[in-house]
């Protein structure tokens, strides 16, 4: 899971399956949005970073690895269209957006170190000594704070609700005091703002979206077909069980001709249907009753139909 502070929320808990994402991107581009979009999906967490309306970074991190750029976009689109995705949009300063971009594409030096077991001073000394450019990520289950460093010197802090790198440590360090707080040390690869490509203009995001839509549609159709086949099979199985039950009851009450009568009337009643309904059975009972009266008296026929009705209800339970 990607741990990033929330920044300044623009919109939270949106269902992206109801949104035309390329159109939303165009809107963000037109408004020169700076910040990031966080997609929490069943496959992992997707982060799209915008800087002054340019989509400079796309990352989808899942348990099996990471996807970046257009692969990440395609995967995020697919997840979004499939549903069960939560989208949050946070505004950041351009400096912070670039910092987060550098961070996401950098390396993890140390991961999930327990704060209470760690000699912070020694760690900071080491960062200074190694002239590390990157950040310390301090986090618990609910909160995340980042401390940015350039060549071992602290630049500032980023925590939930920040839109830019702050100079005061108060909020960020308060996370370190929370029970179960952990620290990651991340090395960032700094990039110049001008060097970063705009994914919106360097590729056809619309085509990726259309392809994802098509794939999802096909998946949905396959799933629907499978579901419908499963329902049909279940109903066919039920129909067969009901028919077998009725045959045995008919044989018991009116002899072997009862089996043939049930088969025939069942076929007549449910021709082309796999669904055995109570309503359909009423017609079946009437026809079977009429035919059975040719080989048995009313009491035997009534006993047979009563047992069939009881048996059918029993099967339904």
């Amino acid at each position: 899971m990607l741990l990033l502070p929330k920044g300044n929320p623009v919109k939270e808990s949106i269902d992206p399956s109801r949104i035309n994402i390329p159109e939303a991107f165009a809107k963000l581009a037109r408004s020169s949005f700076t910040g990031y979009l966080r997609f929490d999906t069943t496959r992992g967490t997707g982060i799209l970073i915008f800087n002054r309306g340019r989509l400079i970074s796309a990352l989808l991190e899942s348990g099996s690895g990471s996807q970046i750029a257009y692969d990440a976009l395609a995967a995020i689109f697919e997840c979004s269209l499939s549903g069960n995705v939560v989208l949050n949009i946070y505004r950041l300063s351009p400096e912070l957006a670039l910092g987060i971009h550098a961070l996401l594409h950098g390396d993890v030096l140390y991961q999930a170190q327990e704060v209470k077991l760690l000699d912070i001073k020694a760690l900071l000394g080491k960062l200074k000594q190694d002239k590390v450019t990157g950040c310390l990520r301090i986090y618990t289950q609910e909160h995340v704070a980042l401390i940015f460093y350039r060549e071992g010197t602290p630049l500032g802090f980023f925590h939930d609700g920040s839109t830019e790198i702050e100079k005061t440590a108060e909020n960020s360090m308060s996370v370190a005091k929370l029970p179960g707080a952990k620290i990651d040390v991340l090395a960032a690869v700094e990039a110049d703002e001008q060097d970063l490509a705009d994914l919106l203009t360097s590729g056809d995001v619309g085509a990726i979206w259309a392809k994802a839509k098509q794939e999802i549609l096909q998946e949905r159709q396959v799933r629907d077909r499978e579901a419908s086949r499963a329902v049909e099979m279940r109903e066919a199985d039920r129909r067969s069980k009901v028919e077998e039950l009725f045959k045995s009851v008919a044989t018991k009450h009116i002899g072997k001709i009862g089996t043939s009568l049930v088969e025939k009337e069942f076929e007549k009643t449910f021709v082309g249907e796999s669904l055995v309904t109570e309503k359909g059975l009423n017609g079946f009972y009437q026809r079977l009753c009429k035919a059975s009266r040719l080989v048995a008296g009313p009491s035997a026929v009534k006993a047979m139909l009563d047992e069939m009705q009881r048996g059918f209800q029993g099967l339904g339970k």
């Binding site: 002899g255 040719l294 048995a296 008296g297």
Partner: protein, 230 residues
Amino acid sequence: MNWDIIQLTFWLIAGLVSFYFSIGNARVWTSIAVGFGFILIGQLIPQAMPYLPGLEIPQVEAMGYIVGTISILVMTHGFQEYYIFSRTLELEGNKIAVYLVTLGVTACSFVFILINPEPDQRTLEIIRVVENVNWVFLSLINIDLIRKICQNIKDSPISRGFAAFILVFVFIFIWRGSELYIQVYNLSDPVVASHFPFRYQLSLLCQNVGNLLAGLSVGGTFLFLARLLR
């Protein structure tokens, strides 16, 4: 021994039971029951002739024999219908149609008798022979048909009732077969009978006993069927 009264009594009971049965049961029984019911009329007319005025009229006597022929044709048709039902499980038609067609055929036969010359003794004998021929051969066919029906509806509540019909047609075969034998060999002629007294007496006994047992078994079978179909 005067068999006529006893036979007539049994046929009266059998005919009424079978007619009543045709009303209260499924359509497939209508032809069978009406056929058996018609035996009553076919028996009533010739056997009641000595006792009821007007029955000795040749046209009436001829109609008695014709109704007898119609009765075996109708009941055979009924068994055929039942056999088809037992094979295909399909049944068409309705009761009223069976009643109307039977009455229609009877009416046409009556018109046929009326528009033709008055039947003399020979004509009446031929009509009687035709009736008996139909009964004898259709009895055999019905026995086979009922055997097949019994196989098809084996284990059903009605199957034992059908088995009883086999017995009925065995008695009918004995009754009508003996009568046909007497007619074909003219054994009722005293001169011929005097040459073959044993054959004649045996045939006569078979005819009367067969008739009696047929009437008895028809009534009994329909009562048995009514019980099975309760």
